[in-house]
């Protein structure tokens, strides 16, 4: 399973997204606000989830803001960190 698919799955499981399937989440859908509709508390949870499932730490706002735009940006961030 690639990072994007795994991300979608853990997002649904860990953030308790009801009535959402991985297929319904577009790679480029916005995670917050419009799109998936996550909020600020979900952001905190998401940071934890990324560390728990991918071993990657989002240290601060500078890293987090661009990374947490969509599944694509987050997957790219994780991949880069894992390689680095």
């Amino acid at each position: 399973m690639d990072i994007k698919e795994k991300l979608k799955q853990v997002l649904i499981e860990e953030l308790n997204l009801e009535d959402v399937t991985p297929e319904e989440i577009g790679d480029d859908d916005q995670l917050f606000g419009e799109g998936l509709g996550l909020d600020s508390l979900d952001a905190v949870e998401l940071v934890v989830v990324v560390q728990k499932h991918f071993g990657v730490e989002i240290k601060d706002m500078e890293e987090g803001r661009p990374a947490l735009q969509s599944i694509s940006t987050l997957a790219a961030f994780i991949e880069a960190k894992q390689k680095g």
Binding site: E18, V20, G37, D39, A43, V44, D60, M61, G64
Partner: protein
């Protein structure tokens, strides 16, 4: 899909006084010091209490809960004392900025415990409320020698100045806007991970009502934010509840009321964090009993429709 619910706050940081009234007090401080400003304050507050139904109404929500058996003249007296003490806090804050920090002595209870908590290196969440003069209290925490990040919202049109603005010095804190990107949670998380201090108000809800828990307070239920408890759960940072109170004409007391430890908890529901928010509310209620005229939330905290009410022009 989830739907984000954005709501309006039922409070505002804007003052009910005009700009010229603030400037008159600043001038009085420059010319005659704190006592001159206090002298004006007694008359100004009396005018507001007698002739401004707006001022009385805004004070009434808290006073009805804190002094449920009072009415008529007794209620009017409570109203006068509450607004007078609030006015003194605003004057004191301006005095510190205009005449310097040595104008007031700040006594800190719990210094050693704070140092121990800091040395855990998990960051520190300082949780206070709109009581006493929290701005002065913050100025007494320099000994912690850690950057302080303050979650603070300021309305457009808020003309009241903070002490550092009077003094013409840079803001000593990193301000995090709770209405900014993701409510500032990522900035707070980043600061805590670096062992820094994050200061939050535990008594007022910002933005989405998804982030608030209902707790018992002064005989009713109020909505308080629970983001800080979630952050504490994620980072392991202790939550230090502290309150400032005016202890004398030229002195303030800063008390460490409680340390709240939030274990790692799964989920983000209000119910999960409500027990921790209740611990804070209990301390705040205890404070209001000890210092009945130093509680400065001039809006209806107890309204079950709080999120739907229109913003009011009110002082923070």
């Amino acid at each position: 899909m989830q739907k984000q619910s954005e709501t309006k706050n039922s409070w505002s940081s804007r003052s009910i006084g005009g700009d010229w009234q603030h400037r008159a007090f600043y001038l009085a401080i420059r010319l005659g010091g704190r006592k001159a400003a206090y002298g004006m304050l007694y008359f100004v507050v009396a005018w507001y209490v007698l002739f401004s139904s707006l001022a009385r109404n805004r004070a009434s929500y808290y006073l009805a809960r804190r002094f449920p058996d009072s009415s008529g003249l007794a209620r009017l007296r409570h109203c006068y004392l509450l607004i007078l003490e609030f006015g003194k806090v605003l004057v004191d804050r301006a005095v510190v900025g205009i005449l310097g920090p040595k104008s007031f002595a700040v006594c800190l209870d719990g210094r050693e415990e704070l140092l121990k908590l800091r040395d855990e290196n998990r960051g520190l969440i300082l949780m206070t409320a709109h009581v006493g003069c929290w701005q002065l209290a913050m100025s007494a925490l320099g000994f912690l020698q850690r950057p302080v990040n303050m979650l603070m919202r300021r309305e457009d049109g808020d003309i009241d100045r903070h002490y550092y603005e009077h003094a013409g010095i840079p803001c000593p804190y990193q301000i995090i806007d709770p209405t900014g990107y993701l409510g500032g949670t990522l900035e707070m998380l980043g600061a805590l991970k670096q062992g820094q201090i994050v200061s939050v108000m535990g008594d007022r809800q910002f933005g989405s009502d998804k982030s608030s828990a209902r707790v018992d307070f002064l005989g009713g239920q109020v909505a308080v934010p629970f983001s800080a408890y979630k952050l504490a759960s994620v980072t392991g940072a202790p939550i230090v509840v502290f309150f400032s109170s005016k202890a004398g004409p030229k002195s303030y007391r800063l008390q460490l009321a409680k340390v709240i430890r939030v274990p790692q908890l799964k989920g983000r529901s209000a119910e999960t964090f409500a027990p921790f928010a209740q611990q804070f509310a209990d301390e705040l209620e205890d404070f209001s009993h000890r210092y009945p005229y130093q509680f400065y939330n001039f809006y209806n905290l107890w309204s079950s429709q709080q999120a739907q009410t229109e913003p009011t022009d009110e002082e923070s």
